[in-house]
């Protein structure tokens, strides 16, 4: 029996496509990450690991920002930079108008004095400004009490050279703490270095954030 004219061509092409289609894209190793969790002493010779990321059910995270010192623009830039760190919408945030509904509150000024329930994540130490992020974790609890409070403060006259740039990168650094990077990078090429000098998250920052958001956290956050 003779095959119709098109059948051999179709079979040949289909076989070629099927053969070509086997290989998958190769994902990066993401081995360049730093410790993002906070290790705290929990007793004599023991330690507890605190880690957190915003659950998908709480996205977008609501951020309120004080309208001072160009902070709203810095916060929007910082949110965009951290959103861009993720490939699969693990994190999202929006700026809201009412601080009473916010999950994260960003203010200009010095950080609150840490009380017994406050975990203070170390300030960025760029010379022109400073920042801090406070998490309220009641003793014995595994549930953070919102809002997370971010403070960014100029050390000199805000109009001085370099202050606005410092405020921008420090805001991004502190927002990095607020999304769940609870520790500092040991590498000065990262925005999460304790004394940041780079303006945006590095590949290591992004890989660390991705790792944090794909690891089961030890802390959750309460509702507002």
């Amino acid at each position: 029996m003779k095959l119709p004219t098109g059948v051999p061509i179709l079979l040949l092409l289909a076989g070629a496509f099927a053969g070509l289609s086997c290989a998958d894209i190769a994902s990066p190793s993401r081995s360049q990450v730093y410790e993002w969790r906070r290790i705290v002493p929990s007793g004599p010779g023991t330690a507890d690991t605190l880690s957190f990321h915003w659950p998908r059910s709480r996205l977008p995270v609501r951020v309120w920002v004080e309208d001072a010192l160009n902070l709203p623009a810095h916060v929007r830039d910082g949110i965009d930079q951290w959103k861009a760190a993720f490939l699969y919408r693990e994190f999202d945030a929006v700026v809201v108008a009412d601080s009473s509904t916010a999950d994260v509150v960003v203010r200009a000024g010095t950080a609150l004095k840490g009380g017994f329930s406050i975990i203070r994540l170390g300030s960025a130490l760029a010379p022109e400004c400073e920042g801090g992020t406070d998490f309220d974790l009641p003793g014995g609890s595994r549930v953070l009490v919102p809002p997370i409070r971010v403070f960014v403060n100029p050390r000199f006259d805000p109009a001085s050279p370099g202050v606005d740039e410092c405020m921008a990168l420090t805001t991004t650094h502190e927002l990095g703490h607020a999304i769940g990077i609870f520790a500092h990078s040991p590498d000065e090429g990262d925005i999460m270095f304790s004394d940041p000098i780079v303006p945006e998250p590095s590949a290591r920052d992004r890989a660390t954030a991705e790792r944090a958001y794909h690891t089961e956290p030890t802390l959750t956050i309460g509702s507002r």
Binding site: L10, F17, K83, R89
Partner: protein, 199 residues
């Protein structure tokens, strides 16, 4: 790439003006299913896949030999896409694709015909984020298919088609993130419509 795209748009115009009475044209709608676009691993495996997509196909062809026709076929799909990790799906927004192929076709048996073509496929994401942070992607595409036609009016045929095509997918953002190679993507579509013209 722009030259190839231009060629796809110019060629059919030349053909139509040369032999308008011999042009066969069609439009169909249906659904397309697609294999995964991205395979990743961050602690656990992650897959990105387009949802079952409503599909619009338009095309035209001209006879080039006794048994063969050459033609151009354009396909548009639009649907959401999502990632899946540990059995949980996350909506990643909307994704539109447009493809255009230059192809050959001919009869198989009675009113059943075949088509094979090659061309380009473009991805237009609903918003530039995630794997599409640096924009969409245009890739080469090749495909085969079968068409069934049944005359329903003097100048119109009912047309049912199955298509299979293949391309390799990546984006500028995936490359910038250190992904290497590209993902083989296979699509299958089933569409119904009307064909008219000289056939």
């Amino acid at each position: 790439m722009r030259f190839v795209l231009a060629l796809f748009f110019v060629l059919p115009c030349v053909g139509v003006s040369a032999a308008p009475a011999q042009v066969d044209y069609y439009a169909r709608i249906g659904l397309s299913a697609t294999t995964k676009l991205v395979q990743d691993r961050i602690i656990q495996d992650i897959e990105v896949r387009q949802n079952l997509a409503p599909t619009l196909v338009v095309g035209a062809s001209l006879p080039i030999a006794a048994l063969y026709r050459a033609g151009l076929e354009g396909t548009v799909t639009t649907a959401g896409f999502h990632s899946t990790e540990a059995g949980t799906d996350t909506d990643l927004g909307n994704l539109r694709t447009g493809s255009i192929t230059l192809g050959l076709g001919g009869p198989i048996w009675h009113t059943l015909g075949w088509r094979a073509g090659a061309g380009l496929i473009t991805y237009w994401p609903g918003d530039q984020s995630g794997i599409f942070l640096r924009g969409g992607s245009t890739r080469f595409l090749a495909g085969v298919g079968v068409d069934y036609r049944h005359k329903v009016m003097p100048h119109w045929d009912f047309m049912a088609s199955l298509r299979y095509d293949f391309h390799r997918f990546t984006t500028d953002e995936l490359v910038a993130r250190g992904f290497s190679g590209s993902q083989g993507v296979q699509r299958v579509s089933a569409t119904l419509g009307l064909a008219g013209g000289s056939r």
